[in-house]
């Protein structure tokens, strides 16, 4: 199980206990016996150069982080400030009034519930289809496999934004416009290429021996998938599920185009319509609502990065 966790998209080398490049600080002697030769001019400049490099590196990271954190500070500080404006400032009186003001059915509860239904349903559909497809692509050898995989990979790159106008036209003709179910099906389809791709790669890492034993005992393909593969796969499946859900939760354009009635809108759209409709924007309320809306994805991402052994391991999954 731990092995599978590590394989989720990355090499086991990228463990939090052994961060990237840590070896170079802790055990320099292992691979550089030359440095033990009597002190030469070259080695002192090397040490000096390394020190300068470390200063530049730490300073660079800190500088970028300092610039990047300012907009984040605003949303946190403003949400607890009754008289919040647009500038980052420490509240005179810390208050939960902004949260109280937005925690009602119209502003928060219904859009959040809509988002959970829409994105949860779409992600579940994506995962179910991607698991089946990933299994077939990982285990069976057919002549359709390569073209199918190449089409999937190609589709991961298509700009979904571009097809929203034709999708709208199609939805009007199919009478699917302004329906949660239609939007859910479309979102499930847009999540599929990436989910299938990841799922196939995870399945490839599950050894075949267990399945062969099950086949010998007379289990069918689907029984093997259900009783053997899925229990082994659940870390991988939950990673794909979280990625899919987080992507859908943040998606603004798709529900913005396909859903029209205010009471059907998910949080990603209602935050826009709610705060751009009224002339005088309550910035403190906007900030606290932003926090509430962002909370599920931040929480899921933290969960995921702990599971993956540091957020950095994710990079391997992107590489494919």
């Amino acid at each position: 199980m731990t092995d599978l966790n590590n394989r989720v998209g990355a090499t086991p080398r990228q463990q939090p206990e052994q961060p990237v490049g840590a070896g170079r600080h802790t055990e320099p002697d292992r691979v550089r016996p030359l440095e033990h030769t009597p002190v030469t001019k070259g080695s002192t400049t090397r040490v000096r150069g390394r020190l300068a490099g470390a200063i530049v590196a730490n300073g660079g990271v800190l500088l970028i982080a300092a610039v990047f954190i300012i907009p984040l500070l605003w949303v946190i500080l403003a949400s607890f400030n009754r008289t919040a404006g647009l500038t980052v400032s420490i509240p005179d009186h810390w208050t939960l009034d902004n949260f109280r003001a937005v925690l009602n059915t119209d502003t928060t509860y219904r859009p959040m519930a809509n988002g959970v239904i829409l994105c949860g349903g779409a992600a579940a559909l994506t995962i179910a289809c991607a698991t089946l497809a990933g299994y077939a692509l990982s285990r069976f050898k057919t002549k359709y496999k390569r073209p199918f995989l190449l089409t999937i990979l190609f589709s991961t790159g298509l700009p979904i934004t571009a097809i929203m106008v034709p999708v709208y036209g199609l939805f009007v003709q199919l009478n699917l416009i302004d329906t949660i179910s239609g939007t859910m099906l479309f979102m499930a389809a847009t999540g599929l290429p990436f989910a299938i791709w990841l799922m196939k790669n995870f399945m490839d890492s599950v050894p075949l021996t267990l399945e062969e034993a099950a086949w010998t005992d007379g289990a069918s393909r689907m029984q093997t998938l259900w009783y053997i593969i899925l229990p082994l796969m659940w870390p991988g499946i939950s990673v794909v599920a979280i990625f899919t859900f987080v992507g859908m939760w943040g998606n603004f354009f798709v529900p913005f185009v396909l859903l029209l009635s205010p009471d059907q809108l998910p949080a990603s759209v209602s935050i826009y319509t709610f705060f751009s409709q009224y002339g005088e924007v309550q910035f403190g309320q906007l900030a606290s609502y932003s926090l509430i809306y962002s909370f599920p994805v931040v929480a899921l991402f933290l969960f995921l990065s702990r599971k993956l052994g540091g957020a950095f391991a994710f990079g391997g999954a992107v590489k494919g």
Partner: protein, 288 residues
């Protein structure tokens, strides 16, 4: 025969969904782009075939050419230069930074990436607005404040997109750098190569394929950015930050010209497909 059908069965649900909801609209758009389909009026009831009229309209329209230029600027500045260079620098620096700095920097940069795009749009609206934090800082150091979202809207949204997307490049490059055997760089160091020489002659050439892959992916992502710009400027003032997706949206939904909007969608799709095919060519040899 039965065996073959059974093997294809698990692919059926995914294939049906993709055909109906992804490739269906793409095929429909190839038809609709050559018609005068619209939300209201004559084109709504009976759309007619109009040949290449939508495309000629695009190439002779100032609005379209304006948004092509803005899209190029946005993609070049925010993705190819901004996210890419900043992500690579962060990945390189992170290797030498001490653990607390690495953890703090990683949390902030990744935090910016995890937030939903509409929230990112509001955060940057607050930062760059007339009464925003940037002007407050500028005033304190004695510089002249201005409304950045009005004076330099396309630069403002580009910077917001750099903020939002840098983490992706950083993660891709961190993974790529960790695949380089340390012995190689250390051997070069022993041989007296300077930091700059090592970077340009060893490190960068060794992650060349990751750089190409990353450039493709972030270009594709940036081409489809909509929510971020829409919440910050709505494409304005006027059309000064109206990139192609926003132009397409306005033509199709505000002006109701679905046929014309679809023609623009097709052009975006073609550009996206070219990048996607290049990306495929780079990954395909590894795909079995």
């Amino acid at each position: 025969m039965k065996q073959a059908a059974g093997r294809g069965a698990p692919l059926v649900p995914a294939t049906v969904l993709l055909l109906v909801f992804l490739f269906g609209p793409i095929l429909w758009s190839i038809y609709a782009a050559f018609t005068n389909t619209s939300l209201s009026g004559a084109g709504a009831a009976h759309s007619q075939f109009v040949g290449f009229a939508n495309f000629t309209k695009a190439f002779t329209s100032n609005g379209f050419l304006n948004s092509v230029l803005l899209t190029l600027f946005f993609t070049l500045v925010s993705a190819v230069i901004g996210q890419n260079a900043l992500g690579l620098s962060l990945a390189l620096w992170m290797r030498r930074a001490v653990a607390p700095v690495r953890a703090f920097g990683g949390a902030v940069v990744i935090g910016a990436w995890v937030l939903p795009e509409v929230v990112a749009g509001y955060l940057w609206y607050a930062f760059l607005a007339k009464d925003g934090s940037l002007n407050a800082v500028l005033e304190r150091v004695g510089l002249h404040p201005q409304d950045w979202l009005f004076s330099l809207p396309i630069l403002a949204v580009s910077i917001a997109n750099i903020w939002r997307g840098t983490a992706f490049s950083m993660l891709v490059y961190t993974a790529a750098l960790s695949d380089i055997p340390q012995e190689i760089e250390e051997a070069a160091e022993v041989d007296g190569a300077t930091g700059r020489q090592r970077l340009f002659h060893i490190t960068l050439p060794m992650i060349r394929s990751s750089i190409m892959t990353n450039l493709m992916l972030i270009t594709l992502q940036t081409l489809s950015v909509f929510g971020l710009i829409f919440t910050m400027t709505r494409g304005g003032p006027g059309t000064k930050s109206q990139t192609l997706p926003l132009y397409m949206y306005e033509q199709a939904f505000s002006f109701g010209d679905l046929g014309y909007g679809t023609a623009i969608a097709i052009m975006l799709l073609v550009v996206g497909s070219v990048f996607s095919l290049l990306y495929l060519r780079m990954l395909a040899p590894e795909t079995t």
